[in-house]
Assembly symmetry: C2
Homo-oligomer: 596 residues x 2
């Protein structure tokens, strides 16, 4: 009977996030890091009630949350305003003032484990070894610190401690794709994989008992799998793998001898339960599309936080006996029934070279459609569009736009070979995957050739510029958020420390000059004949403002329609909600203007 107004953009953007959580072993209490009051703080739920109350008033995200096994304190670590230098504190059981446990201002202190009696904390820090880090244990009562591991040659940090503290595991990280895993027993160190000199990753080690360590690794494999290392017999065994899925996290129910493996296959996550007696596995349904954090407690109950494309982050508990999931928090989009939000459909098509490309297609309900489709190349390119909540997408879908987001070659989650296809190739393979995706969409009758828009940020902004330059006919109008316009000056402008990595990923400004020019949007300005809206943060250190200035100048010289918005108080992306709301409103208004 009452005709309520349509939701405004801020309703889609003012959603709450649960950035981390921890459950006490007796499952009486759950600590969450959330921005319920506007800023991030630690809040507590005393089960069975789920009404939260604050434990801190520091306005910072926590990097770590750990309950003392005896409930005497909670370990929290905060950095300051994103300085990425977390410090370790204890909080009393009712919160309040932070009690410093390990502090070294401006240095990174990463809490990793508590001893079983809650008396000692293990952590890694760069405070005495800025290049490679050391690892320490600290007696919580006396504050006495002992160095237990010195980093050499690679970033070295403790990852887990044996239940009886007889050994600990650690990583030696050479790059994001090369992280050797080791166990230190007294003076002796062993690799958890047969050959530590091969490039591979070892992550998430968990002691099942003092002799047995489970972890995930992509050792000699296209996709990461679960493996086991037995200390006494120095034995490495593959435990569980799933075709075309990447293991991303594991948890162990020691009492029932069950292992839970979380996997990612491109756009969403899956969960498997593996019986450690016979290694048989079953798939467990998940209440979310993408899992953010996980914890298992001694009862075998499993806790996760996660999201879907229509639901911001919430906390769930899976009952070990019934297998049922219960949602413990109620974060949602204000004023919009969940059914009114737009679900994403996974689709796939063959690219020009017959490579299969997966994509997410957001199709609003029939009665809402406005006939237009927005093409979205994601950022990265070493990333992927997944079934996560995005306020911008839901806002635009609510206005009637379809959104099409292909995981072009180079995207993560499809195996390491697929991910490497964009190395040294930003402008050919990925671009043609986008073009083929658009053609597939048109052929399937899912979009109208005269009603396409294009929009992307960072690498997606670069791709939007490039597609506009080389395939302008497809689009009515284009939005570029802080995308690279000139790959040569881009490579010259990145911080020195990134240069080796960028050379591997993209190329060398001198050696690869011709290819880079060929792949640079600025080389195709003449072709950029459609209206464009460019958004740039003035303080962006990744894609510097000159990248946007340059293309804006070139387009204006040619008399093209260009709107240019520079955000004086932003870097790469939007840190402030008001800016995000402003930009998204402007984007909607811009597209509105160029509807036919």
């Amino acid at each position: 009977m009452l005709n309520f107004s349509s939701p405004e953009v801020n309703q889609f953007l003012h959603t709450y996030e649960i950035s981390l959580f921890a459950v006490s072993q007796d499952e009486q209490r759950i600590a969450i890091s959330t921005n319920l009051s506007g800023e991030f703080d630690v809040w507590m739920l005393d089960l069975p009630s789920t009404y939260p109350y604050p434990m801190t008033k520091v306005g910072q995200k926590t990097e770590r949350l750990m309950f003392d096994p005896f409930g005497r304190y909670l370990i929290v670590s905060f950095d300051k305003d994103g300085d990425e230098s977390p410090q370790i504190y204890a909080l009393g059981p009712y919160g309040g003032q932070l009690h410093p446990i390990v502090e070294a201002k401006g240095k990174k202190i990463h809490a990793q484990a508590l001893s079983g009696d809650g008396e000692r904390i293990y952590y890694a820090s760069d405070k005495d070894n800025p290049m490679y880090m050391n690892s320490y244990k600290n007696d919580i009562t006396s504050g006495e610190e002992q160095t237990i591991l010195v980093g050499t040659d690679a970033l070295t940090f403790i990852t887990a401690v044996a239940p009886d503290e007889s050994s600990f595991t650690y990583n030696r990280a050479f790059s994001n794709m090369y992280m050797g895993g080791y166990v230190q027993i007294g003076e002796q160190s062993e690799s958890l994989t047969p050959n530590p000199n091969l490039v591979h990753r070892v992550r998430s080690p968990i002691y099942c008992d003092a002799d047995t360590i489970f972890f995930w690794t992509d050792y000699e494999s296209e996709f990461a799998y679960v493996a086991k290392y037995t200390i006494s017999c120095k034995e490495f065994i593959k435990v569980f793998e799933m075709d075309n899925e990447e293991v991303t996290n594991i948890q162990i129910d020691k009492q029932n001898r069950l292992l839970y493996a979380f996997t990612s296959n491109g756009v969403e996550d899956h969960l498997y339960q593996i019986c450690l007696h016979n290694m048989s596995s079953i798939k467990i349904p998940l209440p979310v599309s993408v899992v953010q954090h996980t914890q298992i407690v001694s009862s075998g109950n499993l806790y996760i936080s996660g999201v879907t494309e229509t639901k911001p982050s919430n906390l769930f508990r899976r009952d070990a006996c019934t297998g049922e999931w219960i949602q413990l928090t109620q974060n949602r989009v204000m004023g919009v029934h969940p059914d009114e939000l737009t679900k994403a459909q996974k689709v796939s098509y063959l690219s020009n070279d017959d490579l299969e490309i997966e994509a997410l297609l957001f199709e609003p309900k029939e009665e809402r459609l406005n006939g237009y489709t927005i093409i979205w190349p994601h950022g990265g390119p070493h990333s992927a569009e997944r079934k996560k909540y995005r306020g911008l997408f839901q806002f635009l879908c609510h206005q009637g736009y379809k959104i099409f987001a292909p995981n072009f070659r180079g995207s993560t989650g499809y195996g390491s070979s697929f991910a490497k296809l964009a190395e040294q190739d930003w402008g050919e393979g990925p671009r043609l995957d986008m073009v083929e995706g658009i053609e597939w969409l048109l052929m399937e009758g899912k979009a109208d050739r005269k009603k396409l828009f294009l929009m992307g940020g960072s690498f997606g902004g670069y791709m939007s510029l490039l597609l506009l330059g080389r395939h302008a006919d497809y689009f009515q109008a284009v939005v570029d958020m802080y995308g690279e316009s000139d790959l040569i000056s881009f490579l010259e402008s990145v911080p020195d420390s990134w240069k080796p990595l960028m050379k591997l990923r993209l190329g060398d400004p001198k050696e690869d000059r011709e290819r880079l020019m060929n792949d640079s949007p600025i080389s195709y300005v003449d072709g950029m004949t459609k209206p464009i809206f460019i958004i740039q943060g003035a303080n962006d250190t990744r894609v510097v403002k000159e990248q946007s200035d340059k293309i804006v100048r070139a387009l204006r010289e040619r008399g093209r329609i260009v709107e240019y918005l520079v955000l004086e108080d932003e870097g790469h992306g939007f840190s402030k909600k008001e800016n995000e709301i402003l930009v998204y409103k402007r984007i909607a208004a811009f597209f509105e203007k160029y509807k036919i």
Copy 2:
């Protein structure tokens, strides 16, 4: 093992409040008005989960919350930044944009009732009748408005509507103590009490059925009681009264024919269940000391919000079958175990004329005591110190102070004769009650004669000044927050509209000149020999800044120790948390300085 720091003052002050709530009839949802995000907004709990999610982002307290019986919308009314002119809106079931139902900016629109089918809303407003208000009904779908009651001679407003809308009740309010209650049936109007011309109050009318109205009244009584009016036989009957307790609110469980009466006896509230078949009553334990809001639903479950001296406002449900209370929200003082907060003990003593005076005594645990006692005359004087949460008290008690707060003559909750004892007498009776209270405290060995402080705000500030002027020997140091120093200029400075009321309450600046001078602190400056800290809001319209300036000047002329803090952005009391925190820290530091 870890020695956590003592809580800081902001922990005691940064507590959340539930200013209002409403429960849907099916008990699936509870809407609360709370400042969880820093500002007040409407949040929803979807039972059985109690994790709240926001319904509005307006940053205002709601005056009214009502669920449509069919769940299609929620009625909310907000004023703007305390302008006391609420407007009526509907919210969709998932919140979001406000949908105006009745708006007249700058005018008061008080929503009072919804029709049983949720199609019509009843409200009172001054929009067409600024002096006396009219009452209206409005068709929610069409927006069509009909005037159903025109105010004349007294503030007139609808209070309840019969289930079949065949009649409605209204009040005619001449003063806070004189509010006649009527029922309007068609063209006919009847008084709910036998003689509407006697001074009395009729409040909280509830239709048990279309013929029967329950309400509370103090018609011909010292204390308010529950009464019933039957329309068909025009019969007024007293239903329930409790010696020395004032009924303040009623709820009716129609299905089980039970009436719940909430009463106040000075420092705390009580609850009684009355069987409407035989009028027998039993006392029901309450989970709080002071009840704030109440609602009953058709199942007979009773919902209340309330506080204790150690617990900020929370929501509770009493199960109609088991009689058990369940706490639904978890507001508390951050970082302090509830047992570490100081409970208030009700004590009483005889004053100089043998009148019994009740008081609250806050005695921190033995190990926390610092030996000092703070004497607290409450504001008003037509008010009372009750077992409510006060951050300032808990903060000071946590530092080891005892606090002694007498409900001197003139306080409310002890019958109308007792309340009237301070009319035209601010400086004699109430003052001597304070003095006798201190003597009693000393005699009982509950305080040390050399370790007394004195503190109060508004009337309590006036009383502190007066006690300092006439009984300085008792106190080590005194704090006065915006207290009157000169009653004559005070009476001359109040807004014109208050003058008749102030004449009744305090006196006439001309006729009562001598008494007013005699009762004015400024007449006793010579006696004010102890250090004093005076706090005043620059924009105070009730006790204007000149009241404090005057006493500060007089004291400084005599070379006395005076600290004076003027808050440029405050009126009468503290509207801003930062100011409150600053003042309370300064008070603690001030007392600290004058410990011997």
